[in-house]
């Protein structure tokens, strides 16, 4: 069972330097060839000061930024990552993120809900990440629901 005492508490605070290479790599991995994510000259010609973060760049912030991810899971008593599925993801964009920015993130577990699934009991755990940039401006808020299976489906 997920440790409910951690609900509402900040689990991790971390800082990440947004690097052009990670923007390029994420865009290529999702198959988006738009030059604004690859080529600084093309991004500038399109009016951006540098490469802009693609829509799902928050994933890079949450994993490469929050290097304690799996440690946090263990602290929450989520011991088997392969029993964790991703239920929902929501991004709220508050200001642009560009290569060269330094982003600070805070991770909070906001709730745990238990439901009976087809293959046994499931826990729906919600997490929120709040991100600010080097100027203290809020840039991104994300909300994530993880579905924790208690046992392997037969």
């Amino acid at each position: 069972m997920v440790n409910r005492e951690m609900i509402g508490k900040a689990l991790s605070t971390f800082t990440y330097e947004v690097d052009r290479s990670k923007i390029r790599e994420l865009a290529l991995a999702v198959g988006d060839p738009n030059p604004i994510y690859q080529d600084v000259a093309a991004a500038r010609a399109a009016g951006y000061p540098d490469l802009p973060a693609p829509p799902t760049f928050g994933t890079v912030l949450s994993f490469w930024g929050n290097r304690r991810g799996f440690i946090t899971f263990r602290e929450l008593n989520i011991t088997q990552p392969n029993l964790v599925l991703h239920g929902e993801e929501e991004y709220n964009y508050l200001a642009p993120i560009y290569a060269g920015d330094t982003i600070t993130g805070t991770l909070t577990m906001t709730g745990v809900d238990e439901k009976q699934g087809r293959t046994g009991s499931l826990e729906f755990v919600t997490f929120e990440f709040d991100y600010i940039n080097q100027n203290g401006a809020a840039v991104l808020k994300t909300r994530q629901t993880a579905v924790i299976r208690q046992e392997v489906a037969k």
Partner: protein, 148 residues
Amino acid sequence: MIETQSKLYFEDVQVGDVLPPLTKPPVAHNLFVRYSGASGDFNPLHTDPAVGLAGGTGGVIAHGMLIMGFLGHFVSDYLGGPLPLSRFGVRFQSMTRISDVITCSGTVTKKSEADEPGFGLIEVTIAATDATGDKKASGNFVAKLPKR
């Protein structure tokens, strides 16, 4: 700041508009490995078939965020870049496996005034579906578009 940058204007969008669909190449095991490195999500459920089998998913499955990344490409193409987005959310409904062919689709469901003068909001329902019609993820986005 170029938050106004968009190839789309509010007046160009109508409720009921269907976005140009985007079909991705069949997903491959190699893509899951590549996406793990790009995103930093190294859960072996996505890369190690033995772990996938032990976890009851029948082998490796795609990261949900890879599928949302496909939708992000689709949305970024429609909007002319990422900056008009104000909200983007999906629910993951079924697992994506090797060889699945994902198509992203969307329909404009709402137009409204933005708080900021000179801008309007559009809301678009989106989905990622495989070739058999199985929905992998669905949700919506809200974008702030300039008025002419």
